[in-house]
């Protein structure tokens, strides 16, 4: 398989104390690709995702984004994060700011846009995720699905070249998952490069260019979704998919 080299993860390893949580993980993505990381909880997929924007520090290996080494000590992490959007499992919306305030904070303080420009950009992004009528609502006044869409808008407002999704629907009531996946699908259609950790296998099957199965910090198997889901080569992949399917 030829790896993309827009985002290239090579032999990344990480330890928490003595415990190794990532073991020489490698994969690559081209611009516009959607890669989905799957695996049992504790397999290291969220940690892998967080290493890409340095919210977690990998100790070995290399991650390059658009040719630049991410893990280098010389990398300006604030600049890196400006270009890499992140959506959290627990939304992590700024509790004291309205929807528009949440989305505008980055453009205002990081990109130094004027108050008006930042608000306008925020309003546009909220419209993009279907929340044009909730601009002034506070996080606690929104449903989980709406909160997560604000979270997506907040990341999009920085005009990132890569979006990271860390189990974006895992904290949602089942009836609210659809609206978030719908927004994510629309981003796929727009050609956004997305690295997604999720348990939503039907979403992965529908939109992923590549699925990476992690277990115990290691890449057990990876490939296009039709191959990985229909004809898993590794027995562990098969067992994981069966367990997941039995809960669907």
């Amino acid at each position: 398989m030829t790896d993309g080299d827009f985002l290239r993860v090579s032999d990344v390893s990480k330890w928490y104390g003595d415990e190794q949580v990532l073991d020489e993980v490698s994969f690559g993505m081209d611009r516009g690709d959607v890669t989905v990381l799957i695996g049992p909880s504790g397999s290291g997929k969220s940690t892998m995702l967080r290493c890409v924007n340095r919210l977690a520090e990998a100790q070995e290996g290399s991650i390059t984004l658009d040719g630049e080494e991410v893990l280098s000590p010389d990398t300006d992490v604030d600049e890196l994060r400006r270009e890499v959007g992140m959506v959290f499992q627990s939304f992590n919306l700024f509790a004291h700011l309205s929807a528009v305030g949440n989305v505008a904070l980055g453009p205002r303080r990081v990109l130094d846009l004027s108050e008006n420009e930042a608000r306008e950009r925020a309003a546009n992004q909220l419209e993009r995720v279907g929340l044009a009528d909730q601009l002034d609502s506070y996080p606690a006044e929104l449903s989980g699905g709406q909160q997560q869409r604000v979270g997506i808008a907040r990341a999009l407002a920085m005009e990132p070249k890569l979006m990271l999704f860390d189990e974006p629907t895992s904290a949602l009531d089942p009836e609210l998952i659809g609206e978030v996946l719908e927004v994510m699908r629309s981003l796929v259609d727009e050609g956004m490069t997305m690295l997604v950790v999720t348990h939503e296998m039907s979403f992965a099957r529908a939109v992923a260019d590549e699925v990476v199965f992690l277990d115990d910090g290691r890449v057990v198997e990876r490939g296009p979704p039709e191959q990985l889901f229909e004809r898993p080569e590794n027995e562990r992949t098969g067992r994981f998919l069966e367990r997941i399917a039995s809960h669907d």
């Binding site: 604030d78 959007g85 959290f88 992590n92 004291h96 904070l105 303080r109 006044e141 929104l142 920085m158």
Partner: protein
């Protein structure tokens, strides 16, 4: 008046050694007095008109005390905030030497009696007179502000430390994920939430500092409570009236400030919905 009601007896009793002259030679509480509480309730609760007149005649003297009390409180709370807020932040986000220094200073200040702090400021360190353009602040006052202010900083640092720590880590992380620096994320995301959460603790601290200003008598200053004490030792029949009067002033000061802070808390409350 002479002290005849239970409230007045309590008041002079609780002053104990401070006011021996008022406690001695008073009319003892008689069975008759107890029996006639219902008819005498008016006058023992409000005091003797002649003694109230004594308070009124000395209202200037007390007003000077109010001024000192309020001035010391405002200056100490302000100094306490300016030093205590950063100190709390260093305790939460700092590491290494700065964090150790700040937390040690806090432990020492909180563990030392306020009288000792004031005596050290005044007699040991010898805080000098401070000259402002319009006037000067006496060494005793600047020592008081420094002592009360630093002590308050040590307590306020804990209010803010708790408030900063109570903000979920995900908030800071989300701030950093859009490219804010650590400082910016704390400044724009964590601090606004922490300040709101520190209002109740701050109300406590304000009330404590206000009433603790009376301790400056130890270095020769006479604020409201000390001036009240001066008055009723002169006019020993007016103990109740003086105490009621200055208690009223303390009440007005704490009540209005607490209400103002309540208003601030409501005004800037983070809206909560039903579907959180």
């Amino acid at each position: 008046m002479s002290v005849a009601g239970p409230l007045a007896l309590d008041a002079s009793d609780s002053l104990g050694a401070l006011a021996p002259s008022t406690a001695s030679g008073e009319t003892p509480l008689t069975a008759a007095a107890v029996g006639s509480v219902s008819e005498s309730i008016d006058w023992w609760l409000v005091g003797d008109p002649a003694d109230w007149w004594f308070v009124v005649r000395n209202v200037d003297y007390l007003a000077g005390g109010v001024l000192l009390t309020v001035g010391l409180t405002v200056a100490s709370i302000l100094l306490g905030f300016l030093a205590g807020f950063p100190a709390g932040a260093v305790e939460v986000y700092g590491e290494g030497l700065p964090k150790r220094l700040v937390s040690t200073a806090g432990v020492v200040l909180r563990g030392t009696p306020i009288v000792v702090i004031l005596l050290v400021m005044y007699f040991v360190i010898g805080v000098p007179q401070v000259n402002l353009g319009v006037g000067s602040i006496s060494p005793a006052i600047s020592a008081s502000i420094l002592g009360l202010g630093l002590r308050s900083a040590a307590y306020q640092s804990q209010i803010f430390r708790a408030a900063l720590s109570s903000v979920d880590d995900g908030q800071l992380e989300a701030g950093r994920s859009v490219g804010l620096s650590q400082f910016e994320a704390i400044r724009y995301v964590v601090v606004p939430q922490a300040l709101r959460r520190s209002i109740p603790g701050f109300q406590n601290e304000f009330t404590i500092v206000l009433k603790d200003t009376s301790i400056v008598f130890a270095i020769g200053l006479a604020e409201l409570l000390t001036r009240g004490y001066d008055l009723f030792t002169q006019e020993t029949t007016a103990v109740l009236e003086v105490i009621l009067f200055i208690s009223g002033i303390y009440f007005v000061l704490t009540f209005t400030t607490n209400r103002a802070l309540d208003y601030l808390g409501t005004r800037y409350a983070i809206p909560e919905g039903e579907s959180a």
